[in-house]
């Protein structure tokens, strides 16, 4: 029987969508059709067409240019927030998973409490402490992402602990730090990568939600997809297409990242439930 390799449509579709959006965003850093901040009094709330492909807002600013810039701001926030979360989360999860002990128990209980909470709510309280601005938003989201990364990485480390290659390395007298980062870490890269994709997914949504609520990026700072959606909501009556272009930009970013994470074999929905099952089964044993 000929065994045909299954094509990973999710991963391919996700990579194409994300690749295209990242390409457009990168272009937006160097060139936009119009000046994103430039106001054109002759084209206020213009409908999509020529020369403004996606129309203009109530100041006559070109929507396409602003989306290219705004998506860049959104992606930049998501990128650095995920960097903070993934780096600190991997460090904490790796160390606690490898060494175990009371600290492990304590940190996991704490992250249980944090991850059980709706993250929007936590972000709300956190932003009200540190204030608005994209750098502060990066910090808040980054810190909020740490527990979920730590949980995933810890779980993988606990699984890898009893593999022969780890035991062998120990017997050969390899230092703990080297086992953690050189031996185990590359083996969990697939899981880590898909969590990073999910992290991007959540970060884009969080930025959009927070900016939409007026608690994220300050409008004076730069455009962001959340801010654009908020502005579009105000001129919904006269220019409904603005909301569509901002909203679908958010949706496309999220779609790309969610397809990638699924393609990498991490179903965000299923893993959440099956992990609880595993825990219950483990408690039975």
């Amino acid at each position: 029987m000929i065994h045909r390799r299954r094509v990973n449509t999710n991963l391919i579709a996700g990579c194409i969508i994300t690749g295209l959006t990242v390409f457009i965003i990168l272009v937006g850093y160097f060139w936009t059709p119009f000046d994103p901040a430039g106001m054109d009094a002759s084209a206020i709330n213009a409908a999509p067409g020529l020369p403004h492909l996606l129309g203009t807002d109530r100041f006559g600013r070109d929507t396409l240019s602003r989306i290219m810039q705004g998506a860049g701001a959104t992606l930049r926030i998501a990128f650095f927030a995920v960097c903070i979360g993934a780096f600190a989360g991997t460090l904490i999860g790796g160390l606690t998973g490898y060494f175990g002990g009371i600290l492990d128990e304590l940190i996991m209980r704490l992250s249980d409490a944090v991850t059980a909470f709706p993250s929007v709510l936590l972000a709300l309280v956190a932003v009200s402490i540190v204030g608005r601005g994209s750098d502060k938003l990066i910090l808040v989201l980054g810190v909020l992402f740490i527990p979920s990364f730590a949980r995933v990485v810890r779980g993988e480390f606990v699984k890898q602990q009893h593999r022969d290659y780890v035991k062998n390395a120990r017997l050969m007298g390899v230092k703990d730090a080297r086992i953690i980062f050189v031996h185990i870490l590359p083996n969990i890269s697939a899981v880590l990568l898909s969590s990073i994709a999910i992290g991007f997914n959540n970060a884009v949504l969080a930025e959009a939600s927070m900016s939409f609520l007026g608690l994220g990026v300050a409008p004076t700072e730069s455009a962001s997809l959340g801010i654009m959606l908020k502005e579009a909501e105000n001129s919904l009556m006269s220019a409904p297409w603005q909301a569509l272009s901002a909203g679908f930009s958010i949706a496309i970013l999220i779609l790309g990242f969610s397809l990638i994470s699924e393609g990498l074999g991490f179903n965000g929905i299923r893993s959440r439930t099956s992990k609880r099952r595993l825990r219950l089964n483990a408690e039975n044993a």
């Binding site: 059980a116 909470f117 709706p118 709510l121 009200s128 919904l236 949706a251 299923r270 439930t273 039975n284």
Partner: protein, 313 residues
């Protein structure tokens, strides 16, 4: 019994820790109730006098335990910015958010179960593929964006409701629910898409099981096998996911209340944080935390009823 006691202990401890965290957060934020009442141009003397009067000059630890003592005995405190007791302030708003959440949750179930069943019945067909593609797209739509689209289509074009004109329940129950349908659906749509995906996947993964083959070999129709045998087993992961969904819906309502100008606890929470109204924020976080923890525990318990093999320690 021991299990319940242990869970109850963890429950109370978590609430205690969260209340301390919120209290500390409010000590760190710049500004307090006094600056908020008097505004930015108040003289230091007047600020000082008001702080003395409000009891803000007492040490933080004393103030925390004063609040805790009140909270435990049922005195939720007094909201300065709304000038009424917190319990009275919340009484009306809590019901609105609860209605929105409940409506949204019911919608998730009503949408996702039939669609999931249908997709599983026609799994891997063209119909299934096309709908799953649409499903994936709906999953990616942020609820507040759907809310804005609904406001435009149903509010401004078809005029099925007046955007921003919320109708209280005691004024006109029919129009109250009519107004809530759209925000509830905005929250429910992406969540239903997730449940559809999970439910369909869970059903399809059962198709290869021995009991399905046995059921077929005994002459059951496809429909009967699906409805009587597969669904029950496929529901196990779905029920737990629904518990998480409920928590997400509560959080989602905070944002959607802004879009539709619904005077629920989400809007109150936002305005109370900016108004530095500690008593209100504390109470709302306590309520949400209690719901979150309770739902999570219920999800754990639900295993026992769906899958009797699971025992608790």
């Amino acid at each position: 019994m021991l299990y319940v006691l242990k869970k109850l202990g963890v429950f109370l401890l978590t609430l205690f820790v969260i209340s301390i965290l919120v209290f500390i957060a409010f000590q760190i934020i710049p500004g307090d109730e006094a600056t908020n009442i008097l505004g930015a141009e108040a003289t230091p003397e007047r600020l000082e006098a008001l702080r003395e009067q409000l009891g803000l000059n007492e040490p933080p630890v004393t103030r925390y335990f004063n609040w805790l003592a009140g909270f435990v005995t049922g005195d939720l405190g007094f909201s300065r910015s709304y000038n009424m007791p917190v319990s009275e302030l919340l009484a009306g708003k809590l019901g609105i958010t609860a209605c929105l959440t409940a409506l949204s949750f019911v919608m998730v179930i009503l949408i996702s179960f039939p669609v999931g069943l249908l997709l599983a019945r026609f799994a891997h067909s063209v119909f299934d593929r096309v709908l799953m593609l649409i499903n994936q797209l709906v999953m990616s739509l942020p609820p507040f964006f759907i809310g804005i689209i609904f406001t435009y289509i149903f509010g401004l074009v078809f005029k099925l409701f007046t955007p921003g004109k919320f109708v209280p329940l005691n004024e006109d129950p029919l129009r109250f629910w009519g107004y809530l349908i759209f925000p509830a659906l905005a929250i429910a749509l992406p969540k239903s898409a997730m449940v559809v995906k999970l439910f369909r996947g869970s059903m399809v993964s059962q198709f290869g099981e021995d009991y399905v083959r046995t059921a077929f070999s005994r002459g059951n129709s496809r429909r009967r096998v699906l409805m009587h045998h597969v669904v029950r087993n496929a529901l196990i992961p779905v029920v737990t996911f629904l518990a998480f969904t409920l928590v997400d819906i509560v959080a989602g309502s905070i944002i959607i209340e802004q879009v539709f100008a619904i005077p629920g606890i989400g809007r109150l929470l936002l305005s109370s944080i900016s108004g530095r109204d500690l008593a209100v924020v504390q109470t709302i976080t306590m309520i949400i935390a209690a719901i979150v923890i309770a739902v999570n525990n219920l999800a754990d318990l639900s295993y026992k009823y769906i899958d009797p093999r699971v025992k608790f320690r």
